[in-house]
Amino acid sequence: MVRVRRRGAAIGTLVLCAWLGLTACTPGEATPTPTPTGFTSEEEAFAAAEATYRAYVDALNRVDLSDPATFEDVYAWTTGDALSEEKRGLSEMRANGWSVSGSSSVVSVTPESYSGGTGRGDLIACLDVSAVQLVDAGGKSQVSPERPDVQTIHVAFRFDDGSPTGALLTSLGPFDGQSPCT
């Protein structure tokens, strides 16, 4: 028993030494870090994120502001700030008696960045909203005269194994860099 235990300890020491030697003597190598979050590659992450964003826009296109049940699909693709914003925005528009018509369409999606360590990333989406009409209870348009036909939207996402696409949108904000949408 004692001998076995000693041998185990010896092997442990050997492994430790090997590990130390590896980390200390190979300056070119990055220390391997575990990837606790989902995607196996950047490509997979962006593909999931794009699928999520497109599904979210599809859900938006099905929204009937008079029927809160149609909001649920939108909520399903979002989390965090994006979810809060949708809950607030859709509820507010419904409470004010607004209605929306027409569809928006995704023109393009451009990967921006992805961090394998956190499973989070972001992309730039070009969303054509030119066909969307938003009117208040009195039929007056609530569309800003400054609204561009194609919105440049900064979309942040993160891995989520509960999502059918593997990702959820965490925030939807304006993009202040050079827009890829023009």
């Binding site: 914003e85 969307v132 561009p148």
Partner: protein, 254 residues
């Protein structure tokens, strides 16, 4: 030897109430056209992440909010407005730091005060003074000193009686202004009726950040609201008396 690539980003946020951030690009913003750059918050979150080197100039990590990135420069590094130099450090043994490591910097909460202290007379000016001045908050990120400077630019008073006033001055005492008591000032307010009022002042700050290479603007503004400051407004009634209070200390009103 590795090059540590440091990515820093600034974002203004409302802690615990991110939903109130305006200018979002969800359904409401995208449909209505309000999807624009507009930041208003109550604190600055400066996040950073870094990856180990090997590919100078490449952004390794960005976290979920990768905007306004300051990209790591290639060697040799010359500090500039756009680039921060954090190169030539050993990375052996350093943990993999991500966006989750956020340092939050909040300006000091403004303090409201009034003249006379906590009381006023209905129909006469009560003078409010805000204790808010330019100040800096220091912290560190990965051992690098970071300083954020907050400068108050406007003050929104809510007097508690339904009236509000916005000023660019925090106000000053009557004596500092060289004015007589109960005279109007830029920050005074005359209450119409007696009662107890809770006064708050929302102070808007602009911020600058310094990583050791000079001050950089942080886009947007921050607004912090003071704790409620109680003011009791009383009515002044005059009456004729025969003697002074010195002469008859037990008289009514003495």
């Amino acid at each position: 030897m590795h090059l540590i690539s440091a990515l820093l980003l600034f974002t203004l946020s409302v802690p615990g109430a991110a939903a109130t951030t305006t200018g979002g690009c969800g359904s409401h913003g995208a449909w209505g056209g309000e999807c624009s750059i507009e930041n208003t918050g109550t604190q600055i979150d400066i996040g950073a992440s870094r990856g180990s080197g090997g590919e100078p100039g490449r952004t390794d990590e960005t976290g979920g909010l990768g905007r306004d990135l300051v990209r790591a420069p290639a060697e040799p590094c010359v500090p500039s407005e756009e680039d921060l130099c954090r190169g030539n450090y050993e990375t052996a043994g350093l943990p993999d730091v991500t966006m989750d490591d956020l340092a939050s910097f909040r300006p000091a909460a403004p303090m409201a005060a009034s003249e006379p202290a906590n009381v006023g007379i209905a129909g006469m000016p009560t003078n409010f003074v805000v204790a808010a001045s330019t100040h800096t908050v220091s912290g560190d990120l990965f051992g690098y000193a970071v300083t954020v400077r907050f400068t108050p630019v406007s003050f929104a008073f809510a007097h508690g009686d339904g009236t509000t006033a916005r000023t660019t001055t925090p106000g000053a005492t009557w004596s500092a202004l060289g004015q007589a008591e109960f005279t109007p000032t830029a920050t005074s307010h005359a209450y119409a009726a007696r009662g107890d009022y809770a006064v708050t002042v929302a102070t808007t700050y602009v911020a600058h950040v310094d990583f050791g290479g000079g001050w950089r603007d942080v886009p947007g503004t921050l607004t912090l609201t003071s704790a409620a400051y109680p003011v009791r407004i009383v009515e002044a009634r005059t009456g004729l008396v025969q003697h002074t209070c010195d002469e008859r200390p037990s008289a009514a009103g003495c």
